[in-house]
């Protein structure tokens, strides 16, 4: 009796928990879909959950871009409208959101996602329906390999990983580095591989390889194993919430090596969670607010004036994403998706907040990587590496 009711119970639990994950309301999905006076840009993003800052910051910046364009008279005489759907950082939700943006909200183009794993879920749908999608900051190479309708406005991981590996080897003079990656995350896996390849090729050794899964809260087993491996630093290409907790765990276990990471660290929560434990760590990013062009400084000032906080690099890419889409629509001269796609593919020397954007034949721009150093709860410019 007991055994049977247990079995039934696990079924019931499984059904119940998937049920709860499907009910995500749009952040503000109201309005009249497809009204002729507007151009709808659908944005799917993690507005809540462990990567909430990615979605929120990107969304704020995207709306800032739309407001600025609308203040100048819009695009092709029409107002831009951003419609945002929450993915909660969940792959199935990302796919649902893209379907809904196309079918219900009648989006002309789609912006999203930040996380590569989620772009890989949403991208195939945009590709199949032939709606151009621009990922602001998914750096995994597989994202734009989905098809000719998927673009991005950031660099890709083989380059980001290589920059950090060479930085670790030549600037920090490290010989042995441990890797701690998120095995449920395409971004993290890709970046870990890229780093490993470049670090080993330049004469370094990987002292230990450990992993975790997104949503884990306990990292003491992995950090304890790394501690005994003789590594001088830990490469943690994960997202900020887990990275903050990993830094705290490392400090608690008496591990004094710096952590190294990628653009997934970029959120103020990294510092509220990680605190002093992150001092002396480095991560790569898309731009440094304290070391930027006039265009970026204007963006930072506008963002601050509107929202009362500093944008992150991911926010800047959300802004660039909308601007690049708007620029393509202008050049296409009509609201037809194939024409917009062709115009996006022809983007050349577009002056964006995060640097010049020229789409290569694989729909990836070549951009420079900024390395930031963490000191006293702030990330400061350390180096800039061009492709």
């Amino acid at each position: 009796m007991f055994r049977r009711s247990l079995l039934g119970l696990f079924f019931a639990l499984g059904v119940a928990s998937t049920g709860s994950a499907c009910k995500n309301k749009a952040a503000d999905g109201g309005g009249s879909p497809g009204a002729a006076a507007e151009i709808v840009i659908g944005h799917y993003a993690s507005m809540t959950g462990n990567t909430a800052h990615f979605g929120q910051d990107t969304d704020k910046a995207a709306r800032l871009a739309a407001d600025q364009l609308n203040a100048q008279g819009g695009v092709l005489g029409k107002k831009l409208k951003i419609v945002t759907l929450d993915t909660r950082g969940d792959g199935a939700e990302a796919a649902n959101a893209v379907t809904r943006l196309i079918d219900v909200e009648k989006a002309t183009a789609i912006l999203g996602e930040v996380a590569s794993s989620l772009s890989l879920q949403g991208g195939p749908i945009a590709q199949r329906r032939k709606i151009p999608m621009v990922s602001p900051s998914s750096t995994n190479p597989k994202v734009t390999q989905i098809g000719d309708y998927v673009f991005r406005v950031c660099y890709i991981d083989p380059f980001q990983g290589k920059v950090m590996a060479i930085f670790a080897r030549q600037t920090l003079k490290l010989d042995k580095v441990a890797i701690l990656k998120d095995v449920k995350n395409d971004y993290s896996i890709g970046l870990a591989d890229a780093f490993q390849k470049a670090f080993v090729a330049s004469g370094g050794t990987i002292a230990a390889e450990q992993s975790y899964s997104a949503g884990d809260t306990d990292f003491s087993a992995q950090v304890t194993a790394i501690k005994g491996s003789g590594a001088q630093a830990i490469w943690v290409p994960g997202y900020y919430a887990e990275v903050g907790a990993i830094a705290r765990t490392a400090a608690r276990l008496g591990v004094k090596m710096p952590l190294l990471g990628g653009d997934g660290w970029d959120a103020p929560e990294l510092f509220t969670i990680g605190g002093d434990a992150l001092n002396g760590s480095y991560f790569s990013n898309h731009f440094a607010p304290d070391q930027a062009s006039a265009l970026s400084q204007k963006f930072v000032a506008d963002f601050k004036a509107k929202y009362g906080q500093d944008p992150t690099g991911l926010g800047a890419l959300g802004y660039d994403g909308v601007m690049v889409i708007a620029d393509a629509i202008k050049r296409a001269g009509k609201l037809e998706e194939p024409a917009i796609r062709d115009a996006l593919a022809a983007t050349k020397d577009y002056e964006a907040v995060t640097g010049k954007i020229t789409m290569d034949k694989d729909r990836n721009p070549e951009k420079s990587v900024v390395v930031l150093k963490i000191d006293g709860g702030k990330a400061k410019y350390e180096a800039l590496v061009n492709p």
Binding site: M1, F2, R3, S5, L6, G8, L9, A12, L13, A16, S17, G19, S20, T48, G49, N50, A52, R88, V183, Q210, S211, Y212, S213, D216, T217, D218, S220, A221, Q222, T224, A225, K227, G228, A241, G244, A245, R248, T249, R252, L253, G254, E269, T272, I273
Partner: protein, 303 residues
Amino acid sequence: MSTFLQQVLNGLSLGSIYALIALGYTMVYGILKLINFAHGEVFMIGAYAGYFGAVGLGVEGYGAAGFPLYLALVVLVFAMVVAALLGVSIEFLAYRPVRSAPRLTPLITAIGVSLFLQNAAMLAFSPNPRPYPPILREVRFELGGVIVTNVKLTIFVVAIGLMAGLSWFIQRTWTGKAMRAVATNLDAARLMGIDTDRIIRATFAVGSALAAAGGILFGLDQIMINPLMGMLTGLKAFVAAVLGGIGNVRGAVLGGLLIGLAEQLTAGYLSPDYRDAITFVILIIILILRPEGLLGVVRPEKV
């Protein structure tokens, strides 16, 4: 060797948190034969009560000087009281009306309460993870190559203290004896003049208070809390209760420690990918080989 000892230490501290939660499952099951699936959410609300209690008392203002110990105790007691009230309300509003229904009905009700609390918490506290406030200032020292922190020690001390208190409560006090009587036979206990409703209420209150203590210790140990933390942790604690023998208080403690150890050693030596899987592998094995649990007794089904 020191790496191994460190993993064991981490496993035991995680395990004692599971044990605290497992006690609530096992006590309620012992009395009502109900698996209270909302218990994981009581644990989560307890952690949040501790969070807001500590923030309300201005924990950030103390800075490096550290939060005074008596205020930390106030936070602990506050969270335990909040959780006890929540547990009693859940029993009164959700379980009492279906107490005489077939066993599956309260079980489904419990899952409903669990989902309700998860979503209510996401609405009220925002779904984003929060770093836990420094209720205890961390002091670190080394013992033979193993890093021990006062947080880990506190987890042991608080967990063991509460479990000893519970055992005293169940064995020595009148209410505890009545609980055991109700667990043995509810109708007979009522005939002997025991107010069974009151005893059931007390059981929920005590179990929920222990879960809240577990929630605070979890927050201190795991750095972050979020509204869905009760789901997986609650399931693991439930497995711990089944492993030890559901309905058996000592079994719940043993089960909790074993699950914590198994999880940590799997993560450290096999692969962290299997840390959650191992718990459920243990559940399957125990259900096949010894469904009554390690310390459980086989009771013939009543006809």
